[in-house]
Symmetry: D2
Subunit: 411 residues, 4 copies
């Protein structure tokens, strides 16, 4: 009877992977923790839902999905004779479950705006260490794997590499919720082809086309979803709003915000002063809702810059954005600036809130970082770009640079 | 060139139906309106995502999907010789687009808690009339159809009946985002079988099995998703939180809340005093985020009842709920009440915040309300339950009653 | 090296269930056997592809899919504490793999036309016993389970009952390949809810809606696909062709046919004379292709009845069929017969080849045969129709009778 | 009433695209013709089902699917202002419907074995001309478009180019039925992005990533499905069987075969002597079933070579195949030949039936043949490889060469 109750709570419906089973008690307890439950309130793809209205999925769901793929990967590797102890299996499961726990409101979008240049991985680590205290050190091995401090590197690679469970889940999940079918990958097939040699993650040769498809899909999702010009535009606006709010706070204004969000608007939190309990606990209390509810109130604020940006974002009157293969013409920028000054009624120094340009760089595959090695039929390893039968992968490993110009609509 | 730009904005990616094309300029303008954009921030299924983590889809997406099905339905009916003028087509498209615009935060969950017993349909109508002013009366026919004041009833039936585009969309959409495959229906097939006789909506005979499946699926979604005991539990908690917050406000406390939410916490807004511009505009500014960000702050409030409920909901420590076919044993309720008083430290009068029981009633199909008529091969009409080849449909039209007990966990 | 090769052959791509892994060596060997490979050439749904052009899937694919679900069911039951030995697991896997091996050309359609009233289950058993000799008795336990001669009935129930892996696979598979979305069931979810009490298969209470959906879907597939009037029509024609060919053979004619098919056209093979090696081996050599290639040649045969039927079937000029809830009017039948005699130019005695009427009966659920028991939260068992919260299931267990009239088009 | 009957027959269930509507009477009549119905009995992917057991879909289904996409493409182009007359729309619909009607048994596999070096396109044309006679010249424009003799080249390009409806359908369809998710393409999205400039087919710029995905997917399907080594192996065996049967026939043997198949086994039918009515009508009567039923009989033939090949293929004891990036080592071939001679007991001259090696060449994209032009936002055209933002497409347009060795297993 009691058994059934426990079983029940451990199966989660996932339209992407079917049913997710939580295989470790400790994973279950971690999922119940408020730090983890918080991820339910953080969208995986920031503001992408403004373009793809189905993209409201959360970091919570992604973390569970990645955990599910990890369960499968462990089973596949064990079936090929790779020894993985129960302790290691639990630890790598916890590591993937917690890999994104440090994300704040709107995930990557505000990664540098809530705190000051703190990567979400660092905050993830801070959360893990805090949890490790609460769970009496039972997360130590998970943390070692996450930090790549464990002597069997393939476990870290399953969490963080060019073929990790993170990517396999998010590509499939983002494709499912956006409806961009070009992002469909054969995650199940790729996992079936994983293997380990000398404690490093490798890929059986016959999985090579799946990998190529995976890399190609990731590149397409990058440009078509993550860097979609309307997404880029709205994310700029959101960042500028946060920056302006911080500026106003630090110049004595008092804006409507939840106390926890206020903490970050009033204080510069960077790597040095983050680890204090205070920052972490404030951080644990903010999510998308704090930002959104404030922005709506700020639409009526007396500061013209803040209220204009907020009104535009809430009503989805987004900045005009162009992404092109050539650098932006400087004259065009100057021309636009003049018009914007007049239209909005602002000074030169505040133009940065309404016009921006920068470079976007993406490599679909990186030969020199955590390269993907192919286990050939003759038993030898070959780096993916070398093993592939054409120039394709090599081409994909060349960084693509694009130029982005983003400004308030002047018509 | 300009053409292309417009076209581009008019195609929306929908993982459920593929691509959604906006076929009327006016529909496009309505979608751009802040009243409509607001629906992006209101979850279709309230708190169901606490059980089905994928269920974060919004009223915005649902409205677009229902509009898409309406476009298809119009095309099917026209291809069968039913005359529908462009003006009627536009109006019925607008009517379905706007049918849910009156939903507030967390959709049905808080329908009676934000305002006082105001149905979302009434608020939808208020929004439509407001929009009609802004759009110079171009929504008049849409409003007539919505109110069933137009002389061709099938147009209203496409918007609101047992076979409307609303249901066809939400069943398919809720099934997609929850991953509950039992909810899959043949919406495309059902639409293909629609027909009109004497200006009333009917179903071609060979669609009868699809209809039966649709009714069965709806029943399953009702009990498995919409009335899932954990969903019911969390929604109770949310309602109780709002009630307690209102109580505190009206007794002089000041709680953290956005100004627009405060308006509804401080004032009893009912059918009488709603139609004022003030209420509508405040209502237009609140959504899920206002509620969520307040609840998090309220977890630290000095009122024990409020803070306890908020903390439990945020951390997903949900009420224990049982749903059974027999009435709840009164003795058990009394027993529980005693234990709860002790555990939480509250008085009799406040027990209502921590324990509740009530009846749930559902009819999968209602013979007497907007019945579904089948157009038989011999050209005659027959009501669905009569036309069906067994007792199945008749059985489904019998209301099912269940009894729900929901209380704070006492262990 | 050798390892990898074996692994490779043991993973099979299935669009319905994802990847199918063959978990037992012996299952692998059985699959390789020509008796089993033959199933690749037998369509699962006879002539349904004439209505649903995607329905070309085979008995081979279905058997693998059912085996896959069995693997999952075993894992679920074991995780709930049901003890299943490796030997039992292997045996029940083999039993489901082989449950349909006795199907002949076009599966059910010709079940009574190739041989004389021999059920495919009997032929399956004959094949299993033959294979058991070749595999040195290693199939004995599988055969016992298949015959329900083993002391743990749930193993037989997994193979053959109202909730067996056979039905769970074929509903999902037929739905996938026909595109009839009403047939979608939650097979994965149902399996997750399986349990065993007193060595009998039961269902956890919270799976009850999935079961209801499953029963409803099966009913819909029955009438919409399996008994679709055009399918029924074409299957009648095929049966009549076989009957006529047999008649001609036994009256001295020599028709084009492969030697193995000829054996069955020339001889009456029934339960008595089947078990001889001769019949089984001839049977093992025929499949859809023998029938089809003969029919095409027979379109030019001098016998008017045979050639007419063959030409009509090959060119898809199918019999006109009506399926109605009332018995067929006798006068109408007589009238049709007169017209057919004139049109085709045949005598009274041969009318049976061109006009037929009969009753179709289906119960979606049968209370008295292998009933489905629900394991309630209080630990007690209740039969499904009793446990269900409305009349729905009871209604579904009432047999539906329809009347079918099928005749050559007289226009 | 009559209307409804006609409508009914014109909607076809397709699990890939949903519902297929036949929009032209003439298309409906052509589909009913025995020449077209024959395609129901020809598998789209030859023997690929030996590796992907779901791949039993037919040329018939593919032709309908391609027609469906054509209907959509016409609607999209018209909505962008491209003028397409009803006559042109009907003709291009018929052209795509009939583009593959010349395929014989097992599609491409036996393309050079049934007849002598006759391409299926030539036979398609012969069928079209024959049908054109029967339909009183109403197919003339369709034939002109098919032959690219019409003055608006985009119509031919919709039927036959690097972006034609043929490819868009078969990739999606083959992916659906094999379950190879890497082949999923955004066909609907690609069609939405089609455009016409100067009567040539072009692609709107924002479709560029979909095109890249499409080209990548096609490459993957090529190597993973169409040229899968086991598929290649079985197709070699089938070709060799046909060749041996022809050899025996021409040396006086009489093998079991349907009369229509015999015609092609006894006679060398090439471009010169094909167009006679005789060949075409014989060709119209053969399909997969003739081949399969003969092969089974031939397993007992006295010719060792024929019976061995047939037995191996029927029992799926396939040739061992290796596909590698380097040319096959000559010594290894010689070694194998010696062993095969001994094992099978054949002479040098007959080794060709049991061992073969050859080069496979594929270009995922061809710059110089029917290149894909991108319509940029500035209104100018750019060839795809030039318009793409990296070397990827250029890489894909380089032909890939692989070396294939295929021989009877010698163990």
């Amino acid at each position: 009877m009691e058994n059934r109750v426990i079983n029940k709570r451990k199966i989660i419906n996932d339209p992407v992977h079917g049913f997710i089973t939580i295989t470790f008690e400790l994973a279950y307890d971690v999922i119940q923790h408020p730090y983890f439950q918080r991820l339910r309130r953080i969208k995986q793809l920031g503001l992408s839902h403004l373009v793809y209205p189905g993209a409201n999925h959360t970091r919570f769901h992604h973390a569970l999905g990645a955990m599910h793929l990890m369960t499968n990967a462990i089973a596949v590797l064990r079936s090929k004779g790779v020894e993985i102890s129960e302790k290691e299996a639990e630890a790598v499961t916890l590591a993937i479950l917690l890999h994104d726990i440090g994300h704040g409101p709107f995930s990557h979008t505000l990664e540098n705006s809530i705190t000051d240049a703190l990567h979400h991985e660092d905050i993830s680590l801070a959360f893990m260490e805090e949890l490790n205290k609460e769970f009496d050190g039972r997360l130590t091995l998970a943390i070692d794997i996450f930090k790549d401090d464990y002597h069997r590197p393939f476990l870290n690679q399953l969490v963080s590499s060019q073929l990790d469970m993170d990517r396999l889940d998010y590509l499939q999940r983002d494709s499912y919720f956006t409806g961009v079918s070009e992002g469909v990958i054969g995650a199940e097939r790729i996992i079936t082809m994983l293997n380990v040699r000398d404690d490093k993650l490798v890929m059986d040769e016959k999985g090579i086309y799946s990998i190529e498809n995976f890399i190609g899909s990731r590149r397409i999702m990058y440009w078509q979803v993550y860097m979609h010009k309307t997404v880029v535009s709205s994310e700029h606006m959101l960042i500028n709003i946060l920056n302006r709010a911080k500026y106003l706070f630090r110049n004595g204004a008092d804006l409507f915000a939840s106390p926890h969000l206020k903490f970050f608007l009033e204080n510069d939190i960077d790597e040095q002063n983050f680890s204090r309990d205070e920052s972490l606990n404030h951080f644990a209390m903010i999510d998308d809702a704090d930002i959104l509810s404030s922005i709506k109130v700020w639409t009526k604020h007396e500061d013209l810059i803040l209220s204009t940006l907020c009104q535009y974002l809430i009503d989805r009157k987004l900045f005009k954005t162009t992404i092109s293969n050539e650098p932006i013409d400087t004259n065009r920028i100057e021309e636009l600036k003049e018009k914007i000054k007049v239209k909005i009624g602002i000074e030169e120094a505040d133009l940065k809130y309404f016009i921006q340009h920068h470079k976007l760089v993406n490599s679909a595959y990186t030969e020199n970082y955590q390269q993907i090695n192919i286990l050939q039929r003759n038993g030898q390893l070959k780096e993916l770009a070398q093993a592939s039968d054409n120039l394709n992968i090599l081409a994909l490993s060349k960084p693509v640079e694009k130029y982005c110009l983003c400004h308030v609509n002047i018509h």
